[in-house]
């Protein structure tokens, strides 16, 4: 079963880190990604540009509206994700707990809807 692990963290804090701290963090991310690739749980992942680059799009009655940014100011922003393969929720939680940002921010674990292959 697939789970999407959404990574929420304080991006302002991240930008304030000195380069060597950022490098160390990226190193931990690389090591984590490597480890789940090795055991076959990795499906995909991406880091996102900071939330100020976000755009909200809505289509209502044939009219498209475009607005800037996320809806609310929160301390933690969506910064990236991993799509993983896990046996069950306990397994997924175990993987999510090893994502480096789990220690500073939080990880939302969402099961992916599985459709029967027709």
């Amino acid at each position: 079963m697939k789970y999407l692990c959404l990574i929420y963290d304080d991006e302002q804090q991240w930008q304030k880190f000195p380069k060597e701290v950022q490098d160390k963090y990226m190193g931990e991310y690389m090591a984590f990604t490597e480890s789940i690739k090795k055991n076959g749980q990795y499906v995909g992942s991406n880091q996102l540009q900071p939330s100020h680059t976000a755009t909200i799009v809505r289509a209502r009655n044939g009219k498209v509206s475009t607005t800037d940014g996320p809806f609310v100011e929160t301390k933690e922003q969506l910064g990236g994700y991993y799509l993983i393969e896990a046996k069950d929720l306990n397994d997924a939680i175990q993987v999510a707990s090893r994502i480096p940002s789990a220690r500073s921010g939080s990880i939302e674990v969402r099961p992916v809807v599985e459709r029967p292959q027709a």
Binding site: D88, L89, N90, P111, P116
Partner: protein
């Protein structure tokens, strides 16, 4: 006499339902992989038992019979729906292959009960849902009974249970006993659910009755089941804590339902058998050297339970236990309780200084018991005006009817003594 036989069988089925339906359900959930399907299978199995046992007699091992009948009924049900709807037949395939191997019903039955407890108390479910699901599935209470116990509309509670089962299914919360590594945190979550059920029964948060024996009874039953299945020191400590509190239930309210504080309780009403059992369990848990906050709270309750009066209580030992508890599980409420124990050991002024320090820090300012405790110490120091102000604040914050009338009584006692 067929009627006699029918009555006899029905009585037997009822008795087996009471003693074994939760075990059967726990195993059916494992075999069928779905709570709702297992519940339907459970009811089908018992309905079939009533019909068939009249003719064929009660089987040698009724539980195994019920599990295997429930499982076949569930497969039948799935086959029938599969015929009409072209739904996913993967579940059906799974059961059919499963039937090739002989499922070991009986060996796993106690493990299945633990699986059920750990699944109902999974931390990925909201605490409210954990409590509702545990009382419903593990204790076998009806939705209406759980709703009544928590003064919640049955529809709200039913929805909570449906949502929790949906999450178990859709997020695939596994039906398993946690691994050794995960056990401490997962056990915490189970103990917390039991503790919350007990606490609601011991000190109802709302309503007119201070205690609810139905809830303390269920919590103790759960505690006994858990320690029997998994004798971890903190599980033992929690059971001891509940028994020691339960032992005092009869003395905590007047026949009219008014609250009586520990100091004024008639200790001859305390249940000695429960105290003895509780003290034994505490000693057992302490000896393990792997105990935690529940065992420490139980140890404090044991010191109270063994004292012949409030003044004869070993207060230095209680303060010492609170010191350890505060290190193990720091919280303002424990600090407050420690302050009350210090007041008994070193006098009200010492206790008051500690409570004031907590409040100045901004903690517990909206907690009625902090103000009531303050009021009590001020009263004992002869500071009537300040005591009244503290009790008045407590009265504004209290939500429980019995406590409200207790504080109101204290206020009434204080007011006439004031020089006007």
């Amino acid at each position: 006499m067929p009627d006699d036989i029918a009555t006899h069988v029905r009585d037997q089925v009822d008795a087996i339902y009471r003693s074994d339906s939760r075990r059967v359900l726990a195993t059916l959930i494992r075999l069928l992989g779905d709570f709702d399907l297992a519940e339907e299978a459970l009811h089908d199995a018992f309905a079939t038992a009533v019909e068939q046992w009249v003719e064929k007699g009660i089987p040698a091992n009724p539980r195994t019979w019920l599990i295997s009948t429930g499982r076949f009924k569930a497969i039948d049900r799935l086959r029938r729906t599969a015929k009409f709807e072209s739904t996913d037949t993967a579940a059906l395939d799974r059961f059919e292959t499963q039937s090739v191997q002989t499922p070991d019903y009986d060996d796993n039955v106690e493990d299945d009960r633990l699986r059920l407890i750990f699944t109902c108390c999974h931390p990925a479910l909201s605490p409210d849902a954990q409590i509702a699901l545990t009382l419903r599935e593990v204790c076998g209470l009806t939705t209406e009974e759980v709703a009544h116990a928590f003064l919640t509309p049955p529809s709200t509670l039913a929805q909570r249970i449906v949502r929790a089962k949906g999450k178990i299914r859709d997020a695939r919360i596994p039906y398993e006993i946690p691994s050794r590594a995960a056990l401490p945190t997962r056990l915490d979550s189970v103990l917390h659910v039991i503790y919350l059920v007990f606490n609601e029964g011991y000190f109802a948060s709302t309503g007119t009755s201070l205690t609810r024996a139905d809830l303390t009874g269920e919590a103790i039953r759960l505690g006994r089941l858990l320690t029997e299945l998994l004798p971890e020191p903190e599980a033992t400590g929690l059971l001891a804590l509940m028994l020691l509190h339960e032992a005092r239930r009869a003395s905590r309210t007047t026949p009219a339902g008014e609250m009586i504080l520990l100091d004024d309780q008639d200790r001859s009403l305390w249940d000695r058998a429960l105290i003895e059992e509780g003290v034994d369990l505490v000693e057992h848990a302490l000896a393990s050297r792997r105990f935690g906050p529940y065992t420490l709270q139980a140890a404090i309750a044991a010191v109270h339970a063994e004292a012949t009066s409030a003044s004869a209580t070993d207060w230095p030992q209680i303060v010492g236990l609170y010191d350890v508890l505060l290190r193990a599980d720091p919280s303002p409420v424990i600090e407050l309780n420690r302050a009350a124990a210090i007041a008994m050991r070193d006098g009200p002024a010492m206790g008051l200084a500690l409570i004031d320090a907590i409040l100045v820090r901004g903690d517990l300012v909206d907690y009625h018991l902090a103000h009531a405790a303050r009021g009590d110490l001020l009263r004992r120091l002869g500071r009537g005006d300040d005591a009244i102000a503290a009790y008045e604040r407590a009265l504004e914050l209290v939500t429980q009817e019995t406590e409200r009338s207790f504080i109101a009584r204290r206020l009434k006692e204080l007011r006439p003594t004031l020089p006007r």
